[in-house]
Symmetry: C2
Subunit: 389 residues, 2 copies
């Protein structure tokens, strides 16, 4: 192992100087600088992470922006679990996550959190502090009393007003709102990673799935499970504003365009409440899907389709391909009401995104610009094997 000391000796300078060129702090004579650089190169110096982190007093702050855990049928709990797991694995205790929750249906809340991030305002809920620290999850902020001033070094930094050292975000909001965030992280130079959805128009690394391809796969699957004697296949999308969903529908359409096996009927309902969806749907289904060959539901809400079918008194439901392995969908899969579910591996998304960002922030590792998740096909038979995924 080559140390700064070795480099210093080799270059005929002090370790202080080596450190200065290494981190570009302070002025260094151009000549000295190049000598040190040469030594660094020649010896193949690699910093020792442990020494670095031991010596740094710093506690790293990472802001995490997602909808609430309970929103969207509990979907967001999944990536959160992955993030949790990633941080647990990270052998580091000087890391604090500030969870900033927003409501995707109320963009004001998103903008507020962006604002808070840029001002470094503490979040009201901290879902976890200290990786490698199995205790202490939610709401640490509410009970700071019992650990006051045991120690010199920066304790209870969690509540400090500080711009974060990194940002983890699921930017499931309009482009305009996204742009505001992009502006902030650019201005403050905050290293960031987006997951679930891409942060539009920014170079921010993305961890997630290709929705168009997901739709293609859904196409093939409906092909496989549909009633062969029937001639119609339907694609149903709840809401017309989520770009991800529209792309899935497009992928599905693309698949069926390349096949003459069945007639494709596509339905994209305008944004509205769940019960309105069901009403709308039960009115339109019979015409849409005369012989009920198969249905693809582009988001996690397969249950709504089943409800509509029930309402129109259709028994012996058509083969159904859905999206997202939420508990509810797992149940429907198990009971045979849904035939196939496509999963975007939300937990793994969270895991990878957090892992990537943390390694960058703490250890200075580089980040890859894109990490596409596999498109997982889940049947009742392999459902259990996805238990912890």
């Amino acid at each position: 192992m080559v140390t700064v000391k070795d480099v210093a000796r080799h270059a005929g300078v002090s370790i202080g100087t080596v450190d200065r060129v290494l981190h570009e702090r302070g002025r260094v004579a151009e000549e000295t600088r190049s000598r040190v650089l040469a030594a660094l190169e020649e010896l193949g110096y690699q910093p020792n992470v442990h020494a670095r982190n031991l010596s740094r007093k710093k506690t790293y702050l990472i802001d995490l922006m997602t909808p609430a855990q309970d929103a969207d049928g509990g979907y967001w709990r999944l990536p959160l679990n992955g993030i949790h797991r990633a941080l647990e694995r990270l052998p580091v205790q000087n890391l604090v996550i500030r969870h900033r929750v927003f409501d995707r249906h109320d963009e004001r809340t998103f903008r507020e959190q962006v604002e808070a991030t840029s001002l470094g305002i503490p979040a009201d809920s901290q879902f976890q502090r200290a990786a490698g620290n199995t205790r202490a999850h939610v709401q640490e902020a509410t009970a700071p009393a019992d650990r006051a001033g045991h120690q010199a070094g920066g304790s209870s930094l969690e509540y400090e007003r500080r711009v974060p050292d990194g940002l983890l975000v699921a930017p499931v909001v309009s482009r305009e709102a996204q742009d505001q965030l992009t502006e902030i992280i650019t201005r403050h130079q905050i290293p960031a990673v987006s997951f679930d959805s891409r942060l539009h128009g920014s170079g921010v690394p993305f961890v997630g799935q290709d929705p168009f391809q997901g739709g293609m796969v859904a196409g093939r699957l409906t092909h496989m499970v549909r009633r062969p004697e029937c001639r119609s296949v339907a694609s149903i999308t709840f809401g017309d504003s989520d770009e991800h969903l529209l792309q899935r529908a497009a992928g599905f359409r693309n698949y069926w365009d390349g096949t003459s096996d069945a007639r494709l009927a596509e339905l994209i309902l305008a944004d509205q409440g769940d019960s309105a969806y069901v009403g709308d749907l039960s009115r339109r289904l019979p015409a849409l899907l005369p012989d009920f060959g198969a249905v693809f539901v582009t988001n996690a809400a397969s249950a709504l389709v089943l409800e509509a079918l029930d309402r129109i008194g259709f028994s012996g439901h058509p083969p159904l391909v859905g999206y997202d392995l939420l508990p509810q969908n797992a149940e429907l899969l198990r009971s045979g009401r849904i035939d196939v579910v496509i999963s975007q591996k939300p937990e793994q998304q969270g895991y990878e995104a957090a892992s990537m960002l943390a390694h960058h922030v703490v250890f200075g590792a580089s980040m890859q610009s894109e990490m596409l998740m596999p498109i997982e096909i889940v049947l009742s038979e392999n459902l259990d094997s996805f238990a912890g995924t």
Copy 2:
């Protein structure tokens, strides 16, 4: 952050003493001991990983036992990649992997490597040293000259004769050979993790897939893709000694036992060479699968079945479900010669196994006894999304 110093002060002893009770080295008066233990508990002491690893001079040695990268159609390259990736991520540079290659068809080679492990004999090939160190992969051992004695501290430990600090193994050999390994790791108390196959009769943690369930999923898939007008479905296993494969076949049988949809024909060929397999198969296929409804091949050798079909001049091959996403199979999937492939996520297996073991060895993290991989279903449509998996 609570430090040993705090604990020492709190217990009224020196930090040396705290260290002694922490690591149970040296004698400590029972009374002192309990006082320290109390302090430890009370203050909630958590060791600082960075300080620990900085202070420890130790280089961790991990032995890795697998078949050669090129064996089994290149299969073993995949978990090896995962292991590589896991170690790269690990923010640690004091870790050396000794790759001990064996030939699963010649158990003597396995036993030799077990012996070598127990004697701590250096491996002849080191596929990688130093996690967090992007350079240097294979065969570091062949060119030790250029990095001689730059530094005090234990350099070139790679070639040291030492029993490893951990063992990563894919025990794809007979039970007897496995037992020999189990005996060794028990005797030397070497922390170990098995992947791909379970290390029989040991409590060693396992990372891999449930083969029986894999067979079940294959059953469902053949059901989905088979020619509906045909009445026969076949399961073909090459070799009769690999327990994993037999279990897959059993799972498949189990699925079809629960269905009256088709007649199941099962074929388990005795161990022999590839060309013999093809000959055997082309003779028996017509009787086995009269109307060619669908075929399941329990291992990665789908190509052999296709070859046999070609030989008997059968065109318009039957729907085929295969196993393992090797490059060859990916190609067959893409060209439509195979309809579905089930993947056991070998890369992820390697990643998880290595990650678990390394965290245990280096950071003292606990290991879970079992980590089952999801049973992945791969079609030509989602094939690309598995690129880096």
